[in-house]
């Protein structure tokens, strides 16, 4: 193996009662902590920053100024040798730097030129995010690179037909990853989440433009730390088994079930995106198998980490999810604390999103019930981030029982922050 392996740890109760079919496991994947665990491919990294320059960026005036400043900070964080470009987005998209429409290789001179061009950005026009993504795609594919990443900043909702945006997302899937940031409160959480989910990135709200620079610096820092792209979680299951779901559950909940690509007759690959050094993520895998007789043991899933290489897919880590049927109830009724914890975190995410949806529709009783349940779950699991964001939307009467009242007046930014960050989870202590 040319690369040090990833660690794959399986947490489950492998004992099933007679006739049981559902096997659950939490899979913890950790990348090696050496600074340079995977020699970057010869083609290096490429980075594009897309800045919304629509007319709305002019109000307040500070918004475009802060966006320019944040982009300059991000440009400064691009490491020497990385290919990069800056795109301005309106109802169309245009290259701000380099002006010839390609990618420039980062060095002190090109970064300086890019920052000067960014300083001249003026707002005016509409918002067609699909067009922006298309131009980024067009720019990337002309330049070979191992890791491709986009930072997308917008302050408004998409003005083009949703079909146009969907098509653009589909075009870009698997070509680059994209972190999305919404500034202010006039953008649509669902729209940016759709992009960041499909393109394996993050989405967040920056309610105050003044916070942009720090956020851009952190995002660029994370992007520059990525060492290996396109790592897939390969799940083999026995014949006649059904994979009920594969979900990323930490650091955030992301359902990968529908992203499966068949890899041989009994296995499928689920994308995990790019990895930096010493990253650790948890996945919840649920497989339905045909029950075997008491005393029998079955491999319910073989979970491998697979990365593409010139000689074909390479397995860089593996763990086994097992099932043993037993008539000993003391064994089969044990609950895996990891599985229980993440089942709770997934329910928390769902309760928040359904509660907010009901609140928007004016369905007070459903909203109160769902958000109350969310408060209780956040409290039980120690998810303090979600708990504090919930407390800005509801008055908590009793957190333990989930008794809450909807607040009369809620800031848009607080509601959007709860929505965008609702998928963030906390980990169990192992």
């Amino acid at each position: 193996m040319s690369q040090p392996g990833f660690t794959v740890d399986i947490y489950q109760n492998e004992y099933l009662t007679e006739g049981a079919r559902e096997v659950n496991a939490v899979v913890t994947v950790t990348s090696p902590d050496t600074a340079d665990f995977a020699p970057r491919g010869s083609q290096g990294s490429a980075e594009i920053i897309i800045v919304d320059c629509s007319g709305s960026m002019a109000s307040p005036q500070t918004k475009i100024a802060q966006a320019r400043a944040a982009t300059a900070v991000a440009v400064d964080a691009i490491r020497d040798g990385v290919a990069f470009a800056v795109i301005a987005g309106t109802q169309t998209a245009r290259h701000v730097f380099p002006e010839d429409g390609g990618l420039a290789i980062a060095d002190p001179r090109t970064r300086g030129r890019a920052k000067r061009m960014v300083g001249r950005l003026r707002p005016g026009g509409g918002t067609a995010i699909g067009e922006w993504l298309r131009l980024a795609h067009q720019t990337f594919i002309r330049h070979p690179a191992d890791l491709r990443h986009v930072i997308l900043l917008t302050d408004g909702k998409n003005g083009e037909a949703s079909r146009r945006l969907d098509d653009a997302i589909r075009l870009c899937e698997g070509v680059f990853s994209c972190d999305c940031r919404g500034v202010g409160t006039d953008w649509k959480v669902g729209e940016l989440r759709e992009i960041s989910t499909a393109l394996l990135g993050t989405v967040d709200i920056v309610p105050d433009p003044a916070g942009l620079a720090a956020d851009f610096a952190a995002m660029m820092e994370a992007a520059m730390g990525k060492q290996v792209a396109d790592v897939a979680l390969r799940v083999w299951a026995p014949q006649h088994a059904t994979i009920r779901f594969v979900k990323l559950v930490a650091p955030a909940v992301e359902d990968l079930t529908g992203r499966r690509r068949q890899a041989g007759p009994q296995a499928g690959d689920y994308p995990t995106g790019a990895w930096g050094a010493a990253e650790s993520r948890d996945y919840h895998v649920c497989v339905e198998v045909r029950p075997a007789a008491v005393g029998q043991e079955m491999l319910a899933a073989r979970v491998s980490l697979v990365v593409g290489s010139p000689s074909g897919p390479q397995v860089i880590g593996q763990g086994l999810v097992r099932a043993i049927w037993t008539d000993d109830e003391a064994l089969s009724t044990r609950i895996s604390s990891q599985v229980a914890h993440y089942t709770g975190q997934a329910e928390l995410v769902q309760a928040v999103q359904e509660g907010l949806a009901a609140r928007r529709e004016g369905d007070v009783s459903t909203a109160t019930a769902k958000l109350g349940r969310a408060v209780a779950l956040a409290q039980q699991s120690g998810n303090e981030g979600t708990a504090s964001r919930l407390a800005k939307i509801v008055d908590v009467v009793d957190a333990a029982t989930g008794t809450v009242r909807l607040k009369k007046k809620v800031e848009d930014a607080d509601e959007m922050a709860l929505d965008t960050r609702s998928t963030k989870t906390v980990r169990t202590k192992k």
């Binding site: 049981a20 079919r21 559902e22 969907d166 997302i169 589909r170 299951a237 026995p238 014949q239 006649h240 088994a241 059904t242 994979i243 079930t257 529908g258 499966r260 068949q262 007759p265 009994q266 499928g268 339905e288 198998v289 045909r290 075997a292 007789a293 008491v294 005393g295 029998q296 043991e297 079955m298 491999l299 319910a300 073989r302 086994l320 043993i324």
Partner: protein, 250 residues
């Protein structure tokens, strides 16, 4: 090459590559009971079409149907009521059974509560699609899995809810219209009907669709009402899945 307790050839020596069963007895776990499934004569019978060792009803490599003794037929034109996806013996082993969701639906049943709100959530199921294609029906080769399929939700109301594809010429407008885009070519014009039961629950009935309907992975008989529960999956066509949600108030 190891051989598992069920007789499969396996490249791995710890667990069978095909059925996952432990090869060789693990310490401390008695292996007294032989596995009930997998008839011994299926062990290593080669596929008459491509030579791959048999591991079940359908050849893993080419989709040959061992039980029917047929290879998947050539492509056939659309017959109007949906593309022909099913091999002749699709129903084989599981028909008639109606297993509920394994562990999580049972706990709430039987509790007296108000009338539930029923919803059918339509989405695309990659694993099901792969199974349909692997089964190798006549048109399997020409049906694509949709690149993008937004989830659609249909509240179940009234005496019945029809599932199908609208047809101006036949004046048919099913309540759950799967015309798309994306279009699932395996869905018949009138594929199945959801029927409200007197007790407030719902059942599904397949009036005789081209490719049949599966409830929780078992094909249902034509013209028979199959009662539904919260969390049930109804598969039809090449990739469509309806997930039934029954939300009880309180």
């Amino acid at each position: 090459m190891a051989t598992c307790p069920a007789g499969h050839d396996s490249g791995s020596s710890d667990f069978c590559d095909v059925c996952g069963m432990r090869i060789g007895a693990p310490a401390g776990v008695p292996l007294a009971v032989p596995p009930a499934a997998a008839p011994p004569d299926t062990a290593a019978e080669p596929c008459p079409r491509c030579g791959t060792a048999r591991s079940g009803q359908f050849c893993e490599a080419c989709g040959f149907d061992f039980d029917a003794g047929q290879a998947p037929g050539p492509e056939r034109p659309d017959v109007g009521s949906g593309r022909h996806l099913r091999p002749a013996t699709w129903t084989a082993s599981d028909s008639g059974r109606h297993p509920g969701p394994a562990t999580w639906a049972a706990s709430d049943s039987g509790r007296a509560r108000g009338p539930a709100t029923w919803t059918a959530v339509v989405s695309a199921d990659r694993a099901y699609y792969d199974m349909v294609i692997a089964a190798g029906g006549p048109d399997a080769g020409v049906v694509q899995f949709p690149g993008y399929c937004p989830e659609r939700r249909f509240p179940l109301t009234g005496p019945q809810v029809r599932i199908g594809r609208h047809s101006a010429s036949r004046g048919l407008q099913p309540e759950i219209d799967l015309s798309g885009p994306p279009t699932d070519p395996g869905v018949s014009r009138l594929h199945a009907v959801l029927i409200a039961e007197p007790d407030g629950s719902w059942a599904v009935l397949d009036p005789g669709s081209e490719n049949g309907t599966l409830v929780n992975d078992s094909e249902i008989a034509t013209g028979v009402r199959v009662p539904l529960r919260d969390g049930d999956h109804i598969h039809l066509g090449a990739w469509t899945v309806l997930t039934i949600q029954a939300v009880h108030p309180g």
